[in-house]
Symmetry: C2
Amino acid sequence: MPASLEVLTALLLIFAAAKAAGELALRLRQPAVIGELLVGIVLGPSALGLVGRPGVGILAAFHGEQAAAEEGLRLALESIAELGVVLLLFYVGLETRLRDLLAVGWRAALVGTLGVLLPLFGGIALMLALGEPEIESLFIGVALVATSVGITARVLRDLGLLGLPEARIILGAAVLDDILGLLLLTIVSGLGETGHVEVTQVLGIATRALLFTVVVAGVGTWAIPRWFSLVERLRMSEAPLVIALILMLGLAVFAAQLGLAAIIGAFLAGLALADVAEDYDLERQALPLYTLLVPIFFVMTGLRVDLKAFAQPATLGLALLVTAVALVTKAVGAGLGAFGRGWRSMAVVGVGMVPRGEVGLIVATIGLAEGVVEQRLYGVVVAMSILTTLLAPPVLHWLLGPIVRTRTLQSAEVSTMTSRGEGVSHHDTAGED
Amino acid sequence: MPASLEVLTALLLIFAAAKAAGELALRLRQPAVIGELLVGIVLGPSALGLVGRPGVGILAAFHGEQAAAEEGLRLALESIAELGVVLLLFYVGLETRLRDLLAVGWRAALVGTLGVLLPLFGGIALMLALGEPEIESLFIGVALVATSVGITARVLRDLGLLGLPEARIILGAAVLDDILGLLLLTIVSGLGETGHVEVTQVLGIATRALLFTVVVAGVGTWAIPRWFSLVERLRMSEAPLVIALILMLGLAVFAAQLGLAAIIGAFLAGLALADVAEDYDLERQALPLYTLLVPIFFVMTGLRVDLKAFAQPATLGLALLVTAVALVTKAVGAGLGAFGRGWRSMAVVGVGMVPRGEVGLIVATIGLAEGVVEQRLYGVVVAMSILTTLLAPPVLHWLLGPIVRTRTLQSAEVSTMTSRGEGVSHHDTAGED
């Protein structure tokens, strides 16, 4: 069997398992994403070891392939998963209007900033208190900073709540938070390598990241509604979808080149296309791609969990401590940013910002590569990243349960905001049922 | 940059190049697939060497990754390409009705059988005439047997001609031809390994392959219209598409496990779902997946071409000879099967069956692995496979040009067939514009 057919076999297994587990979760009144994450853990090295790192096990054993092929299989599956999360954020961007983001702009800035500062200093303080060296402490602090908004976006979308002001706040804050995280990473990497910070370098990266975001969000949403009709001159079939996908991939790759998360680029691509999405039916056309690829991302996220890695009590203890700090500081910091909107709104924003997903992993990987962070701390960051990702959806689901029925967090506040131009988003939400 | 982002970068490059080249081809009144194949060759090791085997070049050099990562990148891209060709044949299956296939059944059987026998004996005769050993000659003969129907299906679909009786004949013959090719491969592999043929093994494989085809085509098209409405009981969103995709991946993998081409399984899955496709809007939902993934398959096909491999005159000569025999025997054999339908119909069927694509490559790979075929002959089969793939689309396009306007190959014959129940397919075709 050629190697590419093994990937097809693994995809079949992952996709079918994701959908079966998602269906089961829905019947138990849980979000489908919980089922997908859990089935990933079960298929992964912790339990069955059917697919994933390092348990590519069954597939390799089956076909008598060697370690190199396993590595290739893993990369192939992870790439397809990466395409999945890129599509997820692109899709969320298509459903988001820039004006709705700007309407919650200062709120998102406050949530983003507080949600960065508390985890950063909380992480550093914890590590120093435990007697760890300064540079390691700094790295752990930075690894706790950046929210990975994929999980929360998925839960909100599954519940049809992307139109809530809280959803806009979380999305806006996540973009800001990713930029701040990038800057901190640059500073700490500089410290790790040379012992001092290159101010010009940091300023350069800050400028590029901000420029990228502002140009794509601002110029994109201005230019695309004006010029997108040019796609009608193309002879190829499905030209609007093709151009939208090229924009999505292009901005995702470009964001990654700038050091931002690829998903930020994909989200901005969706945002820029949001105003033409309806005319060209982009959401409905992106949906089949979403349906196939997004569950693969979540199963692969579960597959990375190896519970056996925490057999050592000391590592397990540190992992749980760091995770607790990551949870509490982010939830409190981001939640405080939503102060004055009522406890449920604060809780939704706080918990919605908790998942660290792949961003914390990227920081840990860089720390490991530069020799600043050793394997033990790497494992701790991986655990933190996964645990925060796993814990957020059920809590969010529980917090948002009542809203699915009433469609408002604080009826008074929302009706005030509606009169300021939030009506569109509520209309959108209602349309998603 | 993580490895999965390199795959994303390569995908962006491949997808954008495919679409740009396809657009250019369309403007030059050529099928888009020609543009995609050619841009693949340009990006491949022959010219720029941007992506592909062995020229993962630029990407690797760019990011300082090593050979293992290149291998992984290649596998990731080939897997996505494999998913693309699986989707292509699934889509073609959705647009095909079993009754239309059965209506041309004996014709397809004749085309398939003659289209297998002539290349087999032609290949053997050529090699023996050149003084090559018997077992190598047998292998080359078998490598010339099986048509890879993806290219032809794509050209017919691009032209909106999947409803032509000729399209049905080609699709039906390709299924049969794949089964015959599998049986011949088993026989020759047995000869290569043990020097004699295990009759029980051959009968076993024949039974399995036929059973698979008949059960999926027969039972599937009977059962699915009756039971597919069960998907409405699922709580997951997009349940019909999800179940259709699981069926597609499942049958593709199962066909591959049986030794058939994965695309045969995907085609049969589409065929089984064809009767419910309209009710559940499956074609329109599969189209975005087609739009993203199918061009990647054709660019990757082009990427495999390394023109430098034919710098040696002797190898080049043999490759051209084998390719000529592959072309002529298949076109004449399959074309003869369409005897009595007029020269254009015979030519379309003959040329439509010419591309060998990945099936010949699989035979060559097995021959290489078993040590029956050496590197030189492997390269020859690769060249034959690629050249037949590249030559068929422009010839088909030229042959079919007049039909795109008149929508009939032989107005007299078609109108006779319409009265015998071919009306549906013509209706379908008209609906594709």
